[in-house]
């Protein structure tokens, strides 16, 4: 019964989304107040229906209802409760439901925030969100229904993929999707502006906190995915430039550019058409990512089951949404002009450089990700693109960006007045260089050429970012949340740079063949292998090894890597033992039984790798601070349904 109820709820949600879209867009266009008034109820109704559907599916999982095909494919009687709930988004159909639910939640949030927006504009924003909801709901119901029944019901389920049986599954997809979906809000704001035929500084001010919020979630989501891969898969990698990873990274790069472009539009009314385009593109990349992951056109460890039928549907949806909005853009954008001026050394310039470089980075990742597909489709042969391409090409645009950040942070709006900061620039650079080279050669050694360069750039960003806030604080001036947030976010970026530089340059990795009682020296640590013993878990049996690690005789820890065999799926999983010691991660993985009591063991020592994920957290905190600045909360429009706003509309 419950699954049918959930199915029905989903159908109702589809209808409500259609109404939301219709009333939201046609209402203001035809000036029907009754229609406009129906939008928020439609949003609420849709959210309630979607939540009901999700609840029904969760109930099916928790209650071991193996008559539901999706539950049978992704759960099992021996699966712990924790994972039975999280299994909801363990595969394609359920993850789509998660996407839809998060979209509904964002829509509700926007509906609440729409009190501060002009009525017509707010209705249009919700209308566009309704169109997106409708598309995803239709896709789900038509091709990926999670409520399909199995007849006869399965006796027991297939079990959740063991790789997914990890706390990471509980947090990574929801937070990642919140970010992905969050850019739909910026997209909706862009759509509303285009439908209205107007885009001004107020628009930018309204859009900023929503965009920044989505960006925060996406940053955390990507970092969680990387962190999870690192700990769960455990062979030291945390980023593989895999097509699915790239699908989340491209929206992030474009989103970062958008956050910065919005600043210029908000402050000076500049780059309007460009900001509009970025707002469209950020979500377009999200949707493109959805397509790439679920259509089977790309080879990836992450991709869901390939199904061309789904691929065709998503492509059609993509063409309508993205093509439609870009067509609208081509029509409306030429009207957006501004006569503001700025000089080469002004803040606006640096924001421009930021945008150019971030977009180039996104385009590069895009080219590399789609190259196999392009090459194949145009009959240029099969091509494969991996880290050896992405790593160097990404740095081509990123290194200049990092350097320009440290300079541009001191620039003022309109007239940069960088001459005033010459001494600051010099001092901060010198100190940064000392710190950078100290890290590269002093703490560690034998780095590559880029190591001191990148480390210096990282430290320079930290120092440069702190100059202004510290100066203000010393002079007794207040530091607004916006400035504080910006500072924190930039320091987060610097943390990532320093962490990545260190990890890439100074990781030590060795594969050893050890017999019981055998020892080895790797990277300044001593490893003593004590042998293996059988270990049993809730739904697996394992072989557990014990390794005692010391550093110059002082104990570091006892590591217990395992190789597990899961009963249901008969899959084997390696559990790496990971511990942190003085900022470095030590990883130990059990390899194969080499016979005669000897086992192969992989040892890795990765310095400062935690900085990479810490950085994302810091950046997200910075974003959250910035988004909660007072000026966004006091941006109210007093006149109802007014078409004309302040005199600050640029002509």
């Amino acid at each position: 019964m419950l699954p049918e109820f959930g199915h029905f709820a989903l159908i109702l949600a589809l209808l409500l989304a259609a109404l939301q879209a219709f009333f939201g867009i046609a209402g203001p266009a035809l000036r029907r107040d009754r229609w406009i008034a129906a939008v928020i109820p439609a949003v609420t109704g849709q959210a309630v229906m979607v939540a009901t559907a999700v609840a029904c599916l969760i109930a099916a999982f928790v209650g071991f209802d193996f008559s539901v095909a999706y539950v049978a494919q992704n759960s099992n009687t021996s699966l712990p409760l924790f994972y039975r709930v999280a299994a909801l988004w363990g595969a394609h159909e359920g993850s789509l439901l998660l996407w839809i639910m998060l979209l509904a939640l964002w829509s509700v949030a926007v509906a609440i925030g729409a009190r501060n927006l002009p009525r017509h504009f707010g209705a249009r924003v919700l209308g566009v969100l309704g169109v997106v909801s409708f598309g995803f709901l239709l896709f789900t119901l038509a091709t990926s229904n999670p409520f399909l029944r199995l007849d006869p019901a399965a006796a027991d389920g297939n079990d959740l993929n063991p790789i997914l049986q990890d706390p990471g599954l509980v947090v990574h997809p929801p937070i990642l999707y919140t970010g992905y979906v969050g850019f739909a809000v910026a997209f909706a704001f862009a759509g509303a502006a285009m439908l209205e035929g107007r885009l001004d500084q107020h628009w930018a001010r309204w859009t900023r906190p929503w965009t920044t919020a989505a960006w925060c979630f996406l940053s955390c989501g990507i970092a969680l995915g990387s962190f999870w891969a690192y700990y769960e898969l455990g062979w030291g990698g945390f980023w593989f430039w895999d097509p699915v990873e790239n699908s989340s990274f491209m929206p992030w790069l474009v989103g970062t550019a958008l956050v910065h472009s919005l600043a210029a539009t908000d402050k000076r009314g500049l780059f309007k058409s460009w900001t509009l385009l970025l707002a469209i593109l950020a979500f377009s990349f999200s949707m493109l990512g959805t397509f790439l992951v679920r259509s089977g056109v790309l080879v990836s460890v992450h991709s869901f089951a390939a199904d061309p039928a789904r691929g065709i549907f998503i492509l059609a949806f993509l063409i309508l949404m993205v093509g439609g909005s870009l067509a609208l853009y081509a029509w409306r954008a030429p009207l957006l002009k501004s006569s503001a001026g700025f000089e080469l050394g002004a803040r606006e310039s640096f924001l421009l450089f930021n945008n150019v470089l971030l977009v180039i980075a996104a385009a590069t990742v895009f080219a590399g990700t789609l190259a196999p597909l392009i090459s194949d489709s145009l009959k240029l042969g099969t091509l494969s693109v991996g880290p050896p391409y992405f790593n160097p090409t990404f740095m081509v645009s990123m290194l200049p960006l990092l350097a320009l950040l440290s300079v541009g942070i001191h620039a003022n709006w309109k007239r940069g007045r960088l001459e005033d900061s010459q001494r600051t620039l010099l001092y901060t650079f010198v100190v940064a260089a000392v710190l950078g080279c100290g890290l590269a050669f002093g703490v560690y050694s034998h780095g590559k050429v880029l190591t001191p360069v990148a480390a210096t750039l990282g430290f320079w960003i930290v120092l440069s970012s702190l100059v202004d806030p510290i100066d203000r604080w010393r002079r007794g001036m207040s530091v607004s949340r916006a400035v504080l947030g910006m500072t924190v976010a930039h320091i987060g970026l610097a943390t990532a740079v320093i962490g990545l530089t260190t990890v890439q340059s100074f990781t030590v990795e060795e594969d050893l063949a050890l017999s019981a009682g055998g020892t080895a020296n790797v990277g300044g640590y001593e490893f003593r292998f004590l042998g293996v013993k059988p270990v049993d878990g809730p739904n697996y049996s394992a072989v557990g090894g014990t390794v005692v690690v010391t550093q110059h005789g002082a104990p570091v820890g006892v590591f217990e890597p395992q190789k597990r065999q899961y009963w249901v799926k008969h899959t084997v999983k390696s559990e790496t033992a990971i511990k942190i010691h003085h900022g470095s991660n030590i990883l130990l993985a059990l390899g194969d039984d080499l016979g005669g009591g000897r086992w192969s063991v992989r040892v890795q020592i990765r310095p400062l790798v935690s900085f990479v994920w810490l950085a994302a957290l810091i950046m997200a905190i910075g974003g959250a601070l910035a988004a909660s600045d007072r000026r966004y909360r006091t941006a109210r429009v007093t006149s109802e349904g007014s078409e004309g706003l302040s005199a600050r509309q640029a002509g």
Partner: protein, 179 residues
């Protein structure tokens, strides 16, 4: 020309590429073989059923043959075996088997139990020959022409469709009397 049309233009191109990509996607698992149109790799391996003799690629020149890579550890190979017996019975093209990284005793037992569709079977215990042929997942079947050039590769269990649509036409086009 409205430069704001540029993003739309780029998107249209992208959509076209993606659409072509979807059309091709059922073939996604199949990587086009670089051997097509090139001379078949040479090999000389012990004959599984007749260990005293060697199966040589040079001996096979001058006639069509199907080179089938299989192993007793491979489930799909078991599924394809009946089709191979049919091919053997049709007696149009001989099947030369490559027993890939397999146990000789098990392989012989397999052929004993299920029937032997092969004219001869080469035992590739080290896997070197399979690598030379660019094999990455059994079963795989190659069609080689009398000049020793690989003209077609089928990845996966050999199907009746492939036999009638891809292999027979190629063989009968140049040898109207069959083999």
């Amino acid at each position: 020309m409205n430069r704001f049309l540029l993003p739309l233009g780029v998107f249209v191109l992208l959509a076209a590429v993606l659409a072509i990509g979807i059309k091709h996607s059922p073939d996604k698992g199949i990587i086009a073989s670089p051997l097509l149109g090139k001379p078949a790799p040479q090999f000389a391996l012990p004959n599984l059923t007749d260990p005293a003799h060697v199966v040589r690629s040079s001996d096979l020149k001058g006639r069509w043959y199907l080179f089938n890579v299989w192993g007793t550890w491979c489930g799909e190979c078991r599924a394809e075996h009946d089709m191979l017996l049919q091919v053997h019975q049709a007696a149009v093209v001989p099947l030369i088997g490559l027993d890939w990284k397999d146990d000789d005793a098990q392989a012989l037992a397999w052929l004993q139990q299920l029937g032997n569709p092969y004219e001869s079977v080469a035992a590739d215990r080290a896997g070197r020959t399979a690598i030379d042929w660019g094999v990455y997942g059994a079963p795989e079947t190659f069609l080689v022409n009398p000049q020793g050039v690989v003209v077609y590769k089928h990845v996966g269990a050999l199907t009746y469709q492939t036999w009638t649509r891809e292999i027979l036409p190629r063989v009968s086009r140049t040898t109207p009397a069959g083999s």
